[in-house]
Structures are given as structure tokens and as C-alpha cells.
């Protein structure tokens, strides 16, 4: 555990080295909320207004999840850079087990995501309303699982791509696919409707339903807005994603780092 704490300390120090970059990123997220969402509020069609009431309220939880995703994914970029600069040889020489090293990196990526996300979540509570204590802890736990899964996913991509270009391209694909094929920006019912009309592949509709970003956003919405209604599937989806990618990342990190 002591070794993992050292890793966390190191990764957090790196994270805060980019504090101004983080401030810039948060302000961009807030711009989305306080400009884009407010304008979309005025443009909603009446059917959607009945469903979600206000786009601002609908989008705020989605934005929190988006921020969490972007910041938890940052660990992958650092690991990819370490690999290219052969800094990983130093990491492998540290007096800790490979499992501690791998788990420590996934954990620090996840915790960094949680730290970045907290002002966005606080904004969400301040403008939409506060959950009960039980709901609050459920949100935190689910978001932590999500952050761990995202961190794992980014590490798995980082160690399996040899150049920054490939990593950035893979990251772009994953980013946009997970963001746009989810209920972060729009209600799931719209995606289902397009699927039923044959304008959207059913496989993507199915993916949007199980997408952890959809489930995490909808979980926060269910507690703060009451719609969609809460279901345990939301927690199961995020937990499964987290478990799969945390294990996969740890395994890939150990195997691929030792190979080169």
C-alpha cells in the first residue's frame, strides 16, 4: 500500500504541474454549460421539454461525466510518453511488485479524474439541487468506478500504441464514440427513436444503452431530476466496465512494459 501511495503522490504532482491547463479545461467545460446549454434550453422542441424539462439541468450531469472522462484519460498520455522516452524502465526498477505498479497507475488516473470532476459535480449540485446523503455516496462510488475504468482503458491504449500519433488517434476514436453515442448530450429516447426509424444502426442503439457514460449520467439525473428512473442496471454497467478495464489495464501494463 505504501508503494501505491508513492505512485499516487508522483502522479498527482505531475497532474498539478498542468494546473493552468486544468483551469483552462474547466473553464471550457463551464462555457459549455453556461453558454451552449442555456441557448439549447431555448431551442428544445416541446416533446423533449416534457421529457427533460430543461436542457441546462439535463446537460450538467452529462458534463460532469465528460470532465471526469477527459481528466481520467490523461494518465494514458503520460504513460505513452514514459514508454516512448523509455522512462518505464526506471518505473520497472522501483522496489515494488508489478501488480502494485500497475494498480497504482490505474488508481492514480481514476483519482485524478475524481479531483478534476469535483468542481463540476459541485456546480451541478448548486444549480440543480442536492441529493440525499445516500444518493451522494452512490454517485461518488459510481463515478469512482467509472474513473477507474476510464483510466484503465486509457492505460490499455497507451501501452499498446507505440507512437503518440497512434495514441492520439485511438484516443480520438474512443473519446468521440463514447461521448456522442451516449446520453451525455441528448436523451437516450432520441437515439432509440432514430434506431426504430432505421436511421441509426441498432447495434449503436444497444451500445448507447450499455455505454458507461450514459449510465453514469443517467444515474446522477435519476437522483437529481427524477428522470430517467433509477435502476440497478446503471450501477452494474459502470461496475462491469470498471472491472474489465482495470484488470485489462493492469495485465496489459505488466505484460507490455516488460516486453519492451
Amino acid at each position: 500500500m505504501r508503494h501505491i501511495i508513492h505512485l499516487l503522490e508522483n502522479d498527482f504532482r505531475n497532474f498539478f504541474r498542468y494546473k493552468w491547463w486544468l483551469v483552462g479545461l474547466i473553464s471550457m467545460n463551464l462555457t459549455d454549460l453556461f453558454i451552449m446549454a442555456i441557448v439549447y434550453n431555448r431551442m428544445l422542441n416541446p416533446e423533449i421539454i416534457q421529457q427533460i424539462k430543461s436542457y441546462f439541468d439535463f446537460f450538467a450531469p452529462g458534463l460532469t461525466v465528460t470532465g471526469l472522462f477527459a481528466s481520467a484519460f490523461m494518465i494514458g498520455r503520460e504513460i505513452n510518453m514514459e514508454r516512448r522516452q523509455e522512462f518505464h524502465r526506471y518505473m520497472l526498477s522501483l522496489p515494488m511488485t508489478r501488480l502494485e505498479l500497475a494498480f497504482g497507475r490505474v488508481l492514480s488516473g481514476g483519482l485524478r479524474g475524481m479531483v478534476y470532476m469535483s468542481p463540476l459535480l459541485a456546480t451541478c449540485f448548486a444549480f440543480i439541487g442536492f441529493p440525499t446523503l445516500m444518493q451522494f455516496f452512490t454517485i461518488l462510488i459510481v463515478l469512482f468506478f467509472l474513473a477507474m475504468g476510464i483510466s484503465g482503458l486509457s492505460i490499455a491504449i497507451a501501452v499498446s500504441t507505440t507512437s503518440l500519433d497512434k495514441f492520439v488517434t485511438a484516443r480520438g476514436l474512443v473519446y468521440y464514440f463514447l461521448f456522442f453515442c451516449s446520453s451525455v448530450f441528448y436523451p437516450l429516447s432520441l437515439i432509440e427513436q432514430l434506431g426504430q426509424e432505421g436511421k441509426f444502426p441498432m447495434i449503436l442503439v444497444a451500445f448507447a444503452k450499455v455505454n458507461p457514460l450514459s449510465n453514469a449520467s443517467d444515474l446522477i439525473r435519476s437522483f437529481l431530476l427524477g428522470t430517467p428512473s433509477f435502476s440497478f442496471e446503471m450501477i452494474v454497467s459502470v461496475s462491469t466496465f470498471s472491472a474489465v478495464f482495470t484488470i485489462l489495464a493492469a495485465f496489459a501494463y505488466i505484460k507490455l512494459m516488460e516486453r519492451t
Binding site: 493552468w20 491547463w21 483551469v23 483552462g24 479545461l25 473553464s27 471550457m28 462555457t31 459549455d32 453558454i35 451552449m36 442555456i38 441557448v39 439549447y40 434550453n41 431555448r42 431551442m43 428544445l44 422542441n45 416541446p46 423533449i48 500519433d165 492520439v168 488517434t169 480520438g172 476514436l173 468521440y176 464514440f177 461521448f179 456522442f180 453515442c181 448530450f185 441528448y186 436523451p187 432520441l190 437515439i191 427513436q193 432514430l194 436511421k199 441509426f200
Partner: protein, 235 residues
């Protein structure tokens, strides 16, 4: 960068544009959004020249450029136009995709709109060069451009019609009315024949706005370039 932009562009059309058009009351929102998306992409690509300035400064290319037998004015103008043209080359295939989706009604209007987009891209490049030369720190520039990108795009008609922006907040509406991204986006829409929800009645006005934007940043860029980098002033 090109691949990233292309992925972003296609996902925006295939997912956000398609789904969001079901969410809003704006008539023909899908085509409206796709045309705005082309301008957002052009803006982001034209900004990139500023990052090149830092790379050149780091590798000593700046001194080489200053030693060339060209005037400072030619140098800045050349960089602005080069940055704008490069942005067009990057974004050209994506604009073709959006034209395929939107279609063109009047080729003459489209050519006029395209010319104004060239000026817009040169102006954005000039702005990027000006800010890069003033700030002199790649980190700060990176952050400022990110924030500026978010503000300038969202406070424009790239994503939504001006009437809704004004309705949402009068300050947002006022800024959007004078935003060069608004001029470029709406001129492009006028050029391709999306005439509902335009922010102007006479296309000459936004065209003049873009020409002024281009002239201002080219002029300011020349002055600042001259004052800031002469005699190793960059460092």
C-alpha cells in the same frame, strides 16, 4: 491533427448533428449544424499557425526567417495567408463532405462565400500569430486559445441561430452579433442556400465584418511582430 479533426468532424455529423436535430425546433437543423461545423473546424485549423511560431522560436527558425530578404510586413502577411491556406487544405476534404450533405443551390453565392472564408481563415491565422507573439509562452497560449476557442465558437451562430442566442441572454446575443465566426458561418450558409435563420439580410455586412477582422489582425500582427521580435526580442 488532421486525423483527429476528421474523426471529430464525422462523429459530430453522424451522431450529434443527426440526434440533436431531433431535439430542437430549428427548421432543417441538421444542415444548419453541419455548415456551422465546417466553420468551427476551419477556425480550429487556422489557429494552429500560432503553435508553429513557438516551435520555430524553440528551434531557432525565427532568426532565420528574420534574416530573409523580405520586409516584416511581407513576413507577417505571408504567415497569415500561409496559415489560412494550410487550414483550407486541412479542412478542404471535410468541407467537401459537408457540401455533399448540405448541397449547393447557387454556385455564384457559394464562390463569394468561399472567398470570404479565405479572408476569415487568414484573419484567424493573423490573430493566432498576434497572440502567440504577444504571449510568448506556449503553455499560456495553449490555455488562452482553448478558452478563446470555447468562447468564440459558443458565442456565435456556428451551432445555433442568432435569435435563440439573443433570447437566451442579451449579452451573449450582442457578442454573437459582432463575432467573426457568426459572419463566416452565416455567409457560408447563405452561400450554400440555407437561408432560414440567417443573422443578416444583406450579405455585404458580414463580408465587410470579415474583411475588417482580416485587416485588423494583419495590421496589428505586422506592428507587434516588428516591435516584439526584432533583435532577439522573442527571448
Amino acid at each position: 491533427m488532421v486525423v483527429m479533426r476528421a474523426i471529430w468532424f464525422v462523429s459530430q455529423i453522424a451522431f450529434f448533428g443527426l440526434i440533436a436535430s431531433r431535439m430542437v425546433v430549428v427548421e432543417d437543423y441538421f444542415r444548419y449544424y453541419v455548415s456551422g461545423l465546417s466553420i468551427m473546424t476551419l477556425y480550429s485549423a487556422a489557429i494552429f499557425i500560432g503553435f508553429d511560431i513557438y516551435e520555430e522560436a524553440e528551434h531557432g527558425v525565427f532568426e532565420y526567417l528574420l534574416s530573409l530578404p523580405v520586409t516584416r510586413r511581407q513576413l507577417v502577411l505571408g504567415r497569415s495567408i500561409g496559415g489560412g491556406l494550410r487550414a483550407f487544405i486541412y479542412v478542404g476534404p471535410l468541407i467537401c463532405v459537408s457540401l455533399y450533405v448540405i448541397g449547393i443551390v447557387n454556385p455564384l453565392n457559394f464562390l463569394l462565400a468561399l472567398f470570404s472564408l479565405f479572408l476569415f481563415a487568414f484573419g484567424v491565422s493573423g490573430m493566432s500569430i498576434t497572440l502567440a507573439v504577444v504571449i510568448k509562452s506556449s503553455d499560456r497560449f495553449d490555455i488562452l486559445m482553448g478558452v478563446l476557442d470555447a468562447l468564440i465558437v459558443r458565442l456565435s451562430t456556428a451551432m445555433y441561430p442568432l435569435s435563440f442566442v439573443k433570447e437566451a441572454n442579451s449579452l451573449y446575443g450582442w457578442i454573437a452579433s459582432f463575432n467573426p465566426v457568426t459572419f463566416a458561418a452565416d455567409l457560408f450558409r447563405w452561400g450554400v442556400g440555407i437561408e432560414s435563420n440567417l443573422s443578416f439580410e444583406n450579405p455585404l455586412l458580414p463580408f465587410l465584418g470579415i474583411a475588417m477582422f482580416f485587416a485588423f489582425f494583419t495590421f496589428v500582427g505586422v506592428v507587434l511582430y516588428d516591435k516584439t521580435i526584432e533583435g532577439g526580442g522573442w527571448r
